[in-house]
Amino acid sequence: MLGLEKKDFRLLLIVIGLTLFAPFLLNPFPEGSELAQFNAGYPDLMQRFVIFGIFAIGFNILFGLTGYLSFGHAAFLGAGSYGAVWIFKLLGMNVLPAIATSVIIAGVFSLIIGYISLRRSGIYFSILTLAFAQMSFALAYSVLTPITGGETGLQLALDDPRIFGASQTATGNIPVPSLFGLEMRSSFEWEVGSWLFTFSTGYYVAAFFMVIAFYLSIRIFRSPFGMMLRAIKSNQTRMSYTGLNSKPYTLAAFVISGMYAGLAGGLMVSMDPLAGAERMQWTASGEVVLMTILGGAGTLIGPVLGAGMIKYFENIFSKINETILHTWFAVLPDGLEDIVVAMVYPFIGKGWHLTLGIMFMLVVIFLPGGLVEGGQKIAGLLRGRKKKTDSAKPNATEPAE
């Protein structure tokens, strides 16, 4: 189906199903219940899941396949965001041209940076991308203020031209991003019993793009081009000895992943038309590295899971404070309760970064295939047989020399 093998097609169907029914799946707890704070089914967070999912899928095409570790991918996301905001400012509020522009801008930008950075490999490549990204950040923050809005970020204004749309709405407000009149912000709420499900237009637009991005990434993984990239990862020297110039392949992978980042940036702006320089900072690049590795670099679904997990932690886990913990452990005797809370507290709430860091280290040390490999190992154990049969293919991480 669609040029995919049966197994991959099934995976794609699962992903489509999950994204389609996410508003239900992420809202398992009834409103007003104790556990309602764990509900992640509100539009803003769901949009983040899919947008960062796209970003991580793209990063995985570069890192998971070729083994080139870029520490500057946020620069492409930032460049894409700026491009999209400018389209909103100049042309109009339809999201499609804005997203297309952001992909193109990020593509061109990554072509330039990739062309230079890919002259070196290994740690030098990481440092070069890091240097370029920090340079872009510093420039966007200071000198390029007329284009990027500097410290305040690039925002829409009432007197923007918007030649294919209105500068302002009839009521004198800044128009909101829309898809042929369908506003991104609009949502439909459905109350079932004590559950409240929100279906937002923005989420489904972003989810549509993520499914396409995911489909393309499967095709790339399974294509001869993907094989070539994997060969570069396992032994680049041998590749060049066979008379093959690996640069065009790595550059293509770099540009593709840059365009994914641009798509993510464009979508981000479509949901909330504002672009700031901090999106380009190297910590933002570090975040996508975390997502990809945590979920499982080189696997298809891993980066999406990693992105979802980190965003869930960031938005839900971080809200748990000491009072909530005390109510949870209230069953314990008083002295013990305080001790348990004191022991748990550093790891959640504001300290969620610590948990993330520890989990990340554990994954890098013990599970080079990320959570996906962990899941497969557990599944293999449950089935009571060696996990060799089906997990070998996508996850085999060979050392990149």
Binding site: L69, L128, A131, F132, A138, G286, H353, M361
Partner: protein, 343 residues
């Protein structure tokens, strides 16, 4: 001319910090072949040793002063630092004032210990793994260290003053025959610069003139042969890791009065230090030191208003720009050795 000298001086203290961190990074890289993204966190830990020592020294208890009364007429409660009880008032005040230099004494064993623990506990298992894995695991470790420090000390910078004797500025201009107040330079930065020269000198002397250093240098050049000769090179490299951690820590201790320590200062310095290492040449100790000072001075020149008028924003990107140009034109960096990190 006075501007020129002033900028060189301004570049020196930042350059010293870069040079010290880059020196440690290169030591680790040259001996163990590990790319340590947690090195910035070690620098930050050093700065927090200084914060901790100064906090510990000013720990105090309340004592009721019978001779004075507060505004309600009750006997006044005065905070008396424990150090006053132990050493007496004069010596106690002196020790509290000199908390940052005293922190050096504590920082050396603490940082060496942390270095050992890191190498034995974690890094050891990553020698055979790809460089990307080493970067990732140390990056994770850096996050963990940062968050632990944040948990204990909060997210705000903690001012840590230098000893009173070094507060104020030194008028360099008078010394060189300029007018007064033309070239002034804070005393503590001068101290920092001399201190970093001392540390750098000590590390080089240690490597150059001791048998231990000779073996380590031999191991850096050809690890296998040294191993075959029956020398336990791993043990020596572990010690070098401890020394590198101590160098980063000391750089942090002394930097605390210049820039109030906060939990992410390490990351800010780390990125630049990596650039410094790469510019100097991966695995080259003199290269790292030279590049550290060079980039520090270049950065301060680029911040001169005359330069900014000419090329706006250049001060923000100069270091990265230099790094990119160097990496593309001299792939091994300024003084890189052949065969190091060339995949």
């Amino acid at each position: 001319m006075d501007q020129f000298i002033l900028q060189i001086l301004n570049g020196l203290d930042k350059g010293s910090a870069y040079a010290l961190i880059a020196l440690g990074l290169t030591l680790i890289f040259g001996t163990l072949g590990v790319v340590n993204f947690a090195h910035g966190a070690l620098f930050m830990l050093g700065a927090f040793v200084s914060v901790t020592v100064s906090n510990l020294l000013s720990l105090s208890h309340k004592v009721v002063d019978e001779t004075r009364t507060d505004f309600l007429g009750n006997p006044l409660q005065v905070d008396v630092p424990y150090i006053h009880d132990i050493l007496g008032v004069t010596a106690g005040n002196f020790v509290m004032d000199w908390s940052v230099p005293i922190a050096i004494l504590f920082a050396i064993p603490i940082m060496v210990g942390i270095g050992f623990a890191m190498e034995r506990g974690l890094i050891k298992h990553f020698y055979k793994r790809p460089h990307a894995d080493q970067i990732l695991v140390t990056f994770g470790l850096a996050i963990v260290i940062q968050e632990i420090v944040k948990y204990f000390y909060g997210a705000n910078p903690i001012p840590t003053p230098a000893p009173d004797a070094f507060v104020g500025s030194f008028d360099f201009g008078l010394l060189l025959g300029f007018n007064a107040n033309e070239i002034i330079y804070p005393y503590w930065r001068l101290v920092y610069f001399s201190f970093s020269l001392l540390i750098i000198g000590a590390v080089f002397a240690f490597l150059q003139f001791t048998t231990f250093g000779m073996v380590v240098r031999a191991g850096m050049a050809d690890r296998e042969t040294v191993g075959i000769l029956g020398i336990d090179i791993d043990k020596r490299f572990t010690i070098m890791f401890g020394i590198a951690a101590a160098v980063a820590g000391l750089a942090g201790v002394m930097y605390a009065p210049i820039n109030s320590p906060n939990y992410h200062m390490g990351m800010d310095f780390l990125v630049l230090s990596f650039v410094v290492v790469v510019v100097g040449g991966m695995g080259s100790l003199p290269g790292a030191v030279a590049a550290g000072f060079m980039l520090g001075i270049l950065e301060s020149f680029a911040s001169m208003s005359a330069v900014i008028d000419l090329l706006p924003g250049i001060n923000q990107i100069i270091i990265y720009l230099v790094a990119i140009i160097i990496l593309l034109t001299r792939p091994r960096g300024l003084m890189g050795r052949k065969g190091v990190m060339e995949e």
